[in-house]
Subunit: 194 residues, 4 copies
Amino acid sequence: MSDKAAKKKQYILDTARGVFAKKGFKNVTMKDIVDACDISRGGLYIYFESTEDIFAELMKNEAEEMDDVFSGSINEESSAGDILALFLKEQKKELLSEKESLLVATYEYAFSNMNNSDRTELFKERLNAFVKVVRKLIEKGSESGELYCEDPEGAARNILNVIEGLKIRSVTTGITESDIDRELLYIMSGLIAD
Amino acid sequence: MSDKAAKKKQYILDTARGVFAKKGFKNVTMKDIVDACDISRGGLYIYFESTEDIFAELMKNEAEEMDDVFSGSINEESSAGDILALFLKEQKKELLSEKESLLVATYEYAFSNMNNSDRTELFKERLNAFVKVVRKLIEKGSESGELYCEDPEGAARNILNVIEGLKIRSVTTGITESDIDRELLYIMSGLIAD
Amino acid sequence: MSDKAAKKKQYILDTARGVFAKKGFKNVTMKDIVDACDISRGGLYIYFESTEDIFAELMKNEAEEMDDVFSGSINEESSAGDILALFLKEQKKELLSEKESLLVATYEYAFSNMNNSDRTELFKERLNAFVKVVRKLIEKGSESGELYCEDPEGAARNILNVIEGLKIRSVTTGITESDIDRELLYIMSGLIAD
Amino acid sequence: MSDKAAKKKQYILDTARGVFAKKGFKNVTMKDIVDACDISRGGLYIYFESTEDIFAELMKNEAEEMDDVFSGSINEESSAGDILALFLKEQKKELLSEKESLLVATYEYAFSNMNNSDRTELFKERLNAFVKVVRKLIEKGSESGELYCEDPEGAARNILNVIEGLKIRSVTTGITESDIDRELLYIMSGLIAD
DNA sequence: AATGAATGAGCCTTCATTCAT
DNA sequence: TATGAATGAAGGCTCATTCAT
């Protein structure tokens, strides 16, 4: 039955994902999840004890998927430029809400109960993983002559800061594709080998 | 009485600011404000009909103050570099939570009920005002030879994106002064005249 | 309005008393009180935050009333025997459930969350007040020659222990008037002056 | 299997005893028992349908054990005084919580759903059994000249009332060994042959 | 017999909001 | 204007009890 239970847990997570994508984090109640999953109040509590619990699990899953995607492709033949382009394209998708995104929910989750060191740790890991991926890409690009960069770590951090800023802008003011392209072009222009 | 009323309204706003700075936006209830202001439940509703209402007013005030500070100094004799330094120092303060900041509350406010065009407009104005200030500073610096920049608008946007990213990092993962300095140095290094 | 509030609080206490008398302590929920008082859920919470809160207040009131009754009569002309008789008659009433009694509720209250020192203190005071009253009566009776007792404190404690025991019996096994009379007679027989 | 079933039932009872001793009666849920016994929810319902059911069985067992202990020893050579001393010592142990006691649980059980005649009957039997034992001891003591008593039945009832009162005090106000000794001395002093 | 997931009723508690004074 | 008592909806959580396996 543990197998069945795991399936149900996954079903709840999948369904909850849609709820969080639509309503953010703070506006989601256990009742919302219950309604969306069409299960009983008590039934949900068997698997999760709070919306935070659910969301934390969701984030872990997302992080793993992200990891799988990139750590797979990064050591293969494709050029650094191609992968970086893929990475930025993924980010663009999220920024343009072209896919069901946990963007807002993730921020809200981060803000609620900020003094939770587990949570802080979760975000640190996430960030570091990202930085590492981007830095490697830049290094690889430098070696192959596609890119030129004297401080790959700094550049990687800079790219992620900008992306973070754009994400916030996509939520607070809205953002268009050309906005994004302009910003990305700006940061990339410093990396292009002359 | 309108004078008295205005004073009371301002008193409520000032007091509420502290509450939002401490608890963010979503966690603040009308009751919290009532308690902090030591007025009656009904009394508060005479002036504001919701926490959103209060916070929106608060943000407008903040924007105006910011405007006053910089649009005043920007046309005067002080060098662009000095003002930019002042601006970045202010941002650092906020990032390091050295002053009572509405950072988190502002984000939470942005996230709650996102499809409110008034709110979006508010944030757009805020961003544009910022960009304008920074762009002017860069232009002024270029003219005086302090800085070198071919795309002041792009640079200004880039700076604000990075700052936004750092703000988010300060909330999600925590951030140290040297983290901030490193990122600021990185973006400034592209602007320094050789 | 504080006057009105006080009245309402008293109304709630009076009504709650009936509920506790009927259902004991642990079986009473805030909803029971709300229903009995015909007020809103939230309305009750304005005055009391839990059934414990309500019951504690109720007990204090009871203790004060008891105090008023006896501390008034004890220093007056009536003979010790008369007052003792009155006291025992009151106890009999309670034992026979002839009046709406908080007996069971009081015990249940005592048992729930026993490690509460406030509560323990409350019961100690209650007991000591009782002992003091009965001891004084016995002393007075000894002086007037109505009673004979070498250890008034011990006798008082013994009487109260027996009464406590009878109370428990009234709850656990039921008890008849003649049962009570027999036990009281037994303990009194040792006090009657030959 | 009936043998195996009986063993399991006994195992549940033994385990449940500890739970009741620790948490009283009303605070114990079927889930508590399930957790303590490390069996399944449904499994418990095969043997018992409620906590009341379990506790009732437990009390019967206790009563039988008590009976075995004393009805065994009472007809043997040991002196009445010795046995009475043993009896009182047992009571003291319980009063001082020196052994895992069902004291509180028993009272709570008695109070919940009082109008249950089965339960009343259970307590009556318990009391009568006790009275009978103590009365016999007193009679035996009288015959042997150890004690002096004109009304053994009354004296026995008195002793049990006092013990009941002390039990309640041990719960409501706390009680020390010297408190107990004093009360027991008081009631015994009337029985000691001059 | 035994399991443990699932249900749903029921209680607790907090708030936004109203309204008589 | 100002008060604060009152309301009732909403969400959180826990259990007794059932039932398919």
